[in-house]
């Protein structure tokens, strides 16, 4: 297994170019660029309809690897087909990697994902989570955090909170599928690429969820993509951890979390979240963090 110790270790070879129509400063694009450094050109990225679908735009693509966009709800099953197709043709050494949004993953494509995981297909499933249906203009998904405004959870006279539904605990759910499941952050590329590198060696299904900071949807200055990604980790909004065989491993531990406020005020989507909302969100984060601390290095799910 390739292991990276620092930024300097990260391969200099890129299999991703500029020229896409993603927003300037797009987090998910960066995630894919980084991932391909580990995955290399003999990789098929299976993409679900979402922002990333517009990376290639006929007749051009920024990818130096292969790509299949089928539909929004079927990345995992498309990947299973590609996997077995390759294996039967003697190309078992090619990587089959899903790169799917949170809407595709948590919602519309979840049956397909769950089945591929249950069957332990040899696939790496990366969910780039921008906490919304980004490509359609930022609507609510079950990955949208409490208190976030989206186009379908706008604040209004009768509902100042925006989204009132607590997002699915996908890591736990995937952990309960007995697969390798991990979170990752753009601000911790070494950690991300090590997880990928590990997933690549596994003889089965791996699920990696990358927080995909989204300048357009979260409504922040694109220059802040990395800062916000880091802050998400630091304030416990996006803890870095992994689950394998039900055991929890907290990758970045902190004695104290930064208050969520700092994270919120950088982003338009939380503008006007009333103080009660902020409090409630802080509570949810604290509870989750406490749970992670308590079960670190233990059976978790």
């Amino acid at each position: 297994m390739q292991e990276f110790k620092s930024l300097k270790d990260i391969p200099e070879q890129d299999y991703f170019t500029g020229g896409s129509s993603a927003c300037a400063g797009c987090g998910p694009s960066l995630g894919l660029k980084l991932a391909l450094k580990v995955l290399g050109p003999e990789t098929i990225i299976i993409n679900s309809a979402g922002c990333m679908t517009l990376l290639p735009l006929y007749p051009n693509t920024p990818l130096k690897a292969s790509w299949i966009h089928n539909a929004i709800e079927n990345a995992a099953s498309t990947a299973a087909g590609a996997r077995h197709g390759l294996d039967n043709l003697g190309n078992g050494d090619m990587n089959v990697v899903v790169y799917a949004g949170d809407g595709a993953t948590y919602d519309i494509g979840f049956a397909s994902l769950s089945a591929a995981a249950a069957k332990n297909e040899r696939i790496i499933y990366i969910c780039y989570n921008n906490q919304s249906y980004g490509n359609t203009g930022f609507q609510w998904s079950t990955a949208t955090p409490y208190g976030s405004e989206t186009k379908t959870t706008p604040r209004g006279k009768e509902n100042p909170t925006g989204n009132t539904i607590v997002n699915k605990d996908m890591l736990k759910i995937m952990g309960a599928h007995r697969v390798y499941a991990a979170t990752a952050s753009l601000a911790y590329p070494v950690d991300f690429l090590n997880k990928l590198s590990r997933a690549k060696e596994r003889d089965g299904f791996s699920y990696i969820e990358l927080l995909g900071a989204c300048t357009a949807g979260w409504n922040y200055d694109p220059r802040l993509t990395i800062k916000i990604s880091k802050l998400a980790v630091r304030c416990g909004m996006w803890p870095l951890y992994e689950i394998e065989h039900g055991m929890l491993n907290l990758n970045k531990d902190f004695n104290e979390l930064k208050p969520i406020d700092e994270f919120l005020k950088m982003q338009g989507r939380y503008r006007a979240l009333p103080p009660e909302g902020v409090e409630r969100l802080q509570e949810l984060i604290d509870e989750h963090w406490a749970e992670l601390k308590e079960y670190n290095k233990q059976r978790y799910v």
Binding site: A49, A71, E73, D107, N135, Q139, P154
Partner: protein, 389 residues
């Protein structure tokens, strides 16, 4: 009457608001998003009292939830496009078979693969066997009016079928046009409370969607007859509609057909451009008119035949294609003409796939080709928008 500048998406949302739809399950897809976002805003602002705006996890689930709510007697609205419409395809048949008068705005967009975001009519027409009533608007006013009428027609005890109101993506959905938005009182007068007799209610246990044996044909026939009934209901409703709103619609939209020798048959927003082109061609002395199909199901056979019977040549302009076959409406038009005494020449044109714009000059080109065909006595099958090939 209040006139306001709204997009087609907003017009459909206004329709849902005015009919007091009680349940709005939804899932986003370009170019429908603005419609549900408008409803979401209204909902958050308390402007849709008693209505539940339900964010679902897929369009399959949207239509499933719509069926669930309609089966307990709720008035339901939703909207979708393209891949979303295809994903709920299975459930569309079920909603019709259960005779549940759900109304859905469809915002047409071409189908994958390859992916396009722009409009053509393949997604909408793909539903033409499903048992739904299918209406297609030309402009934003008609979008709103059709939603209002759709509920009235769909909920009529002689019909009891779900209805789709289609508008072209972008060209209508994202274009502001001034339209008259009626008052809630007017709409209430036009469309009373929905009080179905065949759905589940307290003290009225009903089994919805059981398997059947030989009776299957009967239920299918009833679905068919109910849809045919809608033709009368649609005409009937116009009196009330005109009385209340001052506007009236017909089974088909006839434009300068009285003396037309050449007729273009169109659907949706491209009809507007075609009308403009026709006005200009009329100035040049070309006797051309237009028939706009605004009701696809039930198929208004007699109205179409009546409108076309005096034409010498007809261009069926299909903004869609069934690969390996051709334009989808082409055979339906031909069928409608087949038993006329004198058969016009009919040419077929496949145009505007994946949003290729249909300009006036393209309409004129089609008309001239049709004139050539008439002169040569030989119809053609033509594809537009392939210049780059």
């Amino acid at each position: 009457m209040k006139q306001t500048l709204v997009t087609g998406n907003e017009a459909a949302a206004w329709g849902a608001r005015l009919v007091r739809a009680k349940y709005i399950p939804n899932f986003p897809i370009t170019p429908q998003t603005e419609c549900i976002e408008t409803l979401a805003r209204w909902s958050a602002d308390g402007e849709l009292p008693g209505t539940y705006f339900d964010r679902m996890e897929s369009e399959h689930s949207v239509m499933s939830a719509a069926v669930g709510a309609a089966a307990v007697g709720s008035r339901v609205f939703t909207a979708t496009s393209s891949q979303g419409l295809l994903l709920m395809h299975e459930v569309l048949y079920i909603a019709a078979g259960m005779r549940l008068p759900i109304v859905m705005a469809t915002i047409s967009r071409g189908l994958s693969a390859p992916v396009t975001l722009w409009s053509d009519h393949n997604d909408f027409l793909d539903q033409r066997d499903s048992g739904w009533l299918m209406f297609h608007a030309e402009n934003n006013q008609e979008v709103l009016d059709m939603v209002l009428q759709a509920y009235r027609i769909a909920e009529d005890p002689r019909v009891l079928l779900p209805a789709m109101v289609n508008m072209d993506g972008y060209v209508l959905s994202f274009t502001d046009e001034p339209i008259i938005i009626p008052s809630p009182g007017q709409v209430e007068e036009f469309l009373p409370k929905y009080a179905p007799a065949h759905t589940i209610a307290k003290n009225r246990p009903v089994t919805v969607g059981p398997p059947v044996l030989e009776e299957y044909s009967i239920f299918r026939a009833q679905n068919h007859v109910a849809s045919r009934n809608a033709l009368n209901v649609i005409e009937e409703v116009q009196d009330d509609f005109e009385k209340i709103f001052g506007r009236r619609y017909h089974l088909v939209d006839e434009f300068m057909l009285e003396d037309a020798e050449l007729v273009l048959v169109t659907q949706g927003s491209m009809s507007t451009t075609a009308k403009a082109a026709i006005l200009e061609m009329r100035d040049e002395g070309i006797k051309v008119g237009l028939l706009r199909l605004r009701i696809i199901r039930p198929w208004p056979n007699e109205a179409v035949a009546g409108a076309l019977k005096d034409a010498k040549a007809i261009a069926v302009i299909d903004r869609n294609v069934a690969p390996g076959k051709g334009g989808i409406m082409f055979p339906e038009i031909i069928e409608t003409l087949y038993n006329l005494d004198r058969l016009p020449l009919v040419s077929g044109f496949v145009v505007g796939l994946g949003g290729n714009p249909q300009t006036e000059s393209k309409v004129k080109e089609i008309t001239h080709k049709l004139m050539d065909d008439l002169a040569a006595g030989r119809p053609r099958m033509e594809w537009n928008d392939l210049e780059e090939i």
